[in-house]
């Protein structure tokens, strides 16, 4: 009995030892900066000599009076609400199609759908930018097809610029989520589908009755990841539209960046405060998501 305990203690010690390097790294590289950033969010002034703000919540109060910050929140949630559901449903349908056993060139199709994820965020944004430029390919094609009568300034008009950001996001991330669904689908026994077929369920019914419930954990994971990713959306806003025209497409992360490094402002206090608000938003949304998705009572 005593010996057994010793082995367990030994194993535990070994476990902690293995965990230690990674834990220390996370603390030093991740948690310590977070604490520092939290302290910074109560400070103001140039980064050479930051002082406690007066009142102490000045940066947080400013946020609620800042129209541009509100715009950035509205924009980010607009992208989130429109893009995430479309993307996840598309990804699920694609995964369903590509999971078909009888499909030929499956590998080729899977690679093609996943390929956008292999491109860098900046380069794909720049490619979209040139596609939708006033003298770009899209305008030329649409003009030739007589769908539009004159060149549209896609990225220079607020509504179309937002639409293009959403289209770009869909193009970039659908394949990424599809891979998770594919992996989830492989874990569903074919016999379950067979049984459903025998019972007379059609494709639509099996999809909603079997695939979706069995994929639930994957769906929740992709949802959380997508929400998190969209709330921190940065590259597309910066590279496609620079937040313009007139800051109408700016995202929260982009505005945070502008406050720390753009226009020589270097207002790290305000930027940290906003970053913490975004952090809280992500935490709340992820929590709701987990609660909704939790089937254990």
């Amino acid at each position: 009995m005593k010996k057994n305990f010793n082995v367990q203690a030994k194993q535990q010690r070994a476990g902690w030892l293995f965990l230690l390097p990674a834990s220390i790294l996370i603390f030093v590289m991740s948690f310590y900066p977070m604490i520092e950033a939290f302290i910074t969010s109560f400070k103001t002034g140039s980064s050479a000599n930051m002082v406690w703000s007066e009142p102490i919540l000045k940066n947080y109060i400013r946020m609620f009076q800042d129209d541009l910050f509100k715009t950035s929140v509205v924009n980010t949630f607009l992208y989130l609400i429109i893009q995430v559901p479309i993307m996840l449903i598309l990804a699920m349908l694609l995964a369903q199609l590509l999971n078909n056993k009888d499909l030929k060139f499956k590998g080729l199709f899977r690679t093609m759908v996943f390929l956008p994820c292999a491109t860098s965020l900046v380069s794909y944004a720049l490619i979209f930018k040139s596609l939708f430029a006033t003298q770009g390919l899209m305008n030329t094609v649409l003009l030739k097809l007589h769908i539009i009568s004159e060149n549209v300034n896609w990225l220079g008009t607020a509504s179309t610029a937002k639409a293009i950001i959403i289209i770009a996001l869909l193009w970039r991330w659908t394949g990424y989520n599809m891979v998770f669904y594919l992996a989830g689908l492989q874990n569903i026994e074919y016999s379950v589908y067979e049984a459903a077929k025998i019972d007379g369920a059609n494709g639509w019914k099996t999809f909603w009755g079997i695939t979706v419930p069995l994929l639930r954990p994957t769906i929740i994971m992709t949802f959380i990841m997508s929400i998190n990713g969209t709330l921190q959306l940065f590259d597309e806003s910066v590279n496609l539209t620079k937040g313009g025209p007139a800051n109408s497409t700016i995202t929260m992360s982009h505005y945070i960046f502008n406050n720390s490094f753009g226009d020589g402002v270097a207002n790290f206090g305000y930027a940290s405060a906003m970053a913490f608000v975004v952090f809280i938003m992500v935490a709340i949304l992820a929590f709701i998501n987990l609660k909704v998705g939790d089937t254990r009572d």
Partner: protein
């Protein structure tokens, strides 16, 4: 067995690469320290950007100073863009460690006041250098003078030129004199005609980083600032100028590009325009279209009243950093070359020849090189003209928040032209947004 060998190999590769990474990073660091500061007492280091503009000017200055001190060496550390220098100062200032900075930095005029105030230890005053400050355009030195003390030596000249395609003007029955000293309304009429007959816009600008309001306002002798506060909604001249810009845009006289590269590549190099108005550093961009050589000429800006307008936009100066220990050498070098000393003619002549850098130093601008005609501009002596125009630029109140203001005004113009807001509301939004930025930065 095979697997074991493979995994051992992988571990080995990993270990070696991580060691190599450590090794190279430490050696990088030591070489980095060396390049930002030199042990040699006759060597100065400088951060600068733009290999076709500022760097030839610095090389010209090095050569000129070697006449006086043959052992002198200027180590130019090229930066990709001006913001790299700003980031270097921000980094040094935030960490409190200035030891990585070079002896001298080239710095954008509109940013320097803010940086000297935010990071006072990053720069050294050069008030006691042997420089006759009256020999420079007053507008230029107003940027580098902080709390009455001189910090920087001017390099280039941001005097605004208005370049016109004389061949296209002629098609519509106008000469360069017909567009000199006109009102913006007259300009609008001519522009409409030019667009109708030739399909080209008479003016273009980057609608995102829109410099038009600032330049047009300065030509009127008015600032966007009054006693340090934004002067926008109550500023009648400002409102009038914004309305003018919107009207020009609606009349197809002005084209507002989506961003800077669209402005240069699409509108100017893409030959969409019959006129270009900006700081004279835009000239190399105009000259990229070789087939239009000889068809351009430059003149002053239109104004609201119809007098000839003069303004300045952009440009930079050289500053001695707080990390420089060879301050006497640095001051002497700057005074002798860019500061109007004995080597200034040699410096500025070669800077002009090799980089097209035009001086604000009045005595150096009288050199023969400046009076030579430039073939691209129909043999007009544009450099002498620019120096002359530069002397008329009115000094207007500047602010630490110049670019924030530019961003807000540009947004206002975009929302007016998109029909989302009227001038009054758009400017009100801009002003309150700007005030928030200022309040937020206050301690």
């Amino acid at each position: 067995m095979k697997k074991k060998v493979l995994s051992m190999l992988l571990v080995g590769v990993l270990a070696v690469t991580s060691l190599a990474a450590c090794g190279s990073s430490s050696s990088d660091k030591s070489s980095g320290e060396k390049s930002a500061q030199s042990d040699d007492e006759n060597t100065l280091t400088v951060y600068a950007w733009d290999a076709s503009f500022n760097i030839p000017a610095l090389e010209a200055a090095e050569a000129a100073y070697q006449e006086k001190n043959p052992d002198f060496h200027l180590e130019i550390i090229e930066q990709t863009q001006s913001s790299d220098v700003e980031d270097a100062i921000t980094l040094a200032g935030s960490s409190g460690d200035y030891s990585q900075l070079p002896d001298i930095v080239l710095f954008q005029d509109h940013y320097i006041q803010q940086y000297v105030r935010n990071y006072p230890d990053a720069f050294q005053s050069i008030a006691d250098a042997d420089i006759n400050w009256d020999d420079f355009g007053a507008e230029k030195t107003s940027f580098s003078t902080i709390n009455g003390e001189h910090y920087g030596v001017p390099v280039d000249n941001g005097t605004v030129i208005f370049a016109y395609r004389t061949d296209l003007l002629e098609e519509c029955g106008y000469t360069i004199d017909d567009v000199t000293g006109i009102t913006w309304d007259q300009f609008d009429e001519i522009g409409k005609e030019v667009y109708a007959k030739t399909g080209k816009y008479l003016l273009s600008m980057d609608g995102d980083g829109n410099d038009l309001p600032y330049m047009m306002l300065q030509a009127e002798g008015v600032s966007q600032w009054k006693d340090g506060a934004p002067y926008i909604t109550d500023n009648e001249t400002m409102v009038e100028i914004i309305n003018t810009i919107v009207k020009l845009q609606q009349d197809n006289v002005l084209y507002l590009a989506n961003d800077w590269s669209d402005y240069t590549d699409q509108t100017i190099v893409g030959d969409m325009v019959a006129g270009v108005m900006n700081g004279n550093w835009i000239i190399p961009t105009i000259e990229k279209v070789e087939e239009n050589s000889g068809k351009w000429e430059i003149t002053s800006m239109p104004t609201l009243s119809g007098e000839e307008g003069y303004a300045s936009n952009g440009g930079s100066s050289l500053y001695i950093t707080g990390n420089c220990t060879k301050t006497d050498l640095a001051k002497d070098f700057l005074a002798y070359t860019f500061g109007g000393g004995e080597g200034s003619i040699a410096t500025y002549d070669n800077a002009l020849k090799d980089g097209g850098v035009i001086t604000t130093c009045i005595s150096a601008g009288e050199s023969d090189v400046y009076n030579e005609g430039v073939a691209y501009f129909n043999d007009q002596a544009i450099y002498a003209k620019i120096v002359e125009m530069g002397s008329h630029v009115p000094v207007v109140e500047q602010s630490d928040f110049h670019y924030d203001c530019r961003t807000q005004i540009a947004s206002a113009i975009q929302s007016i032209t998109a029909g989302e807001a009227d001038t009054a509301t758009a400017l009100e939004t801009a002003e309150s947004q700007l005030q928030q930025v200022i309040d937020g930065a206050a301690q």
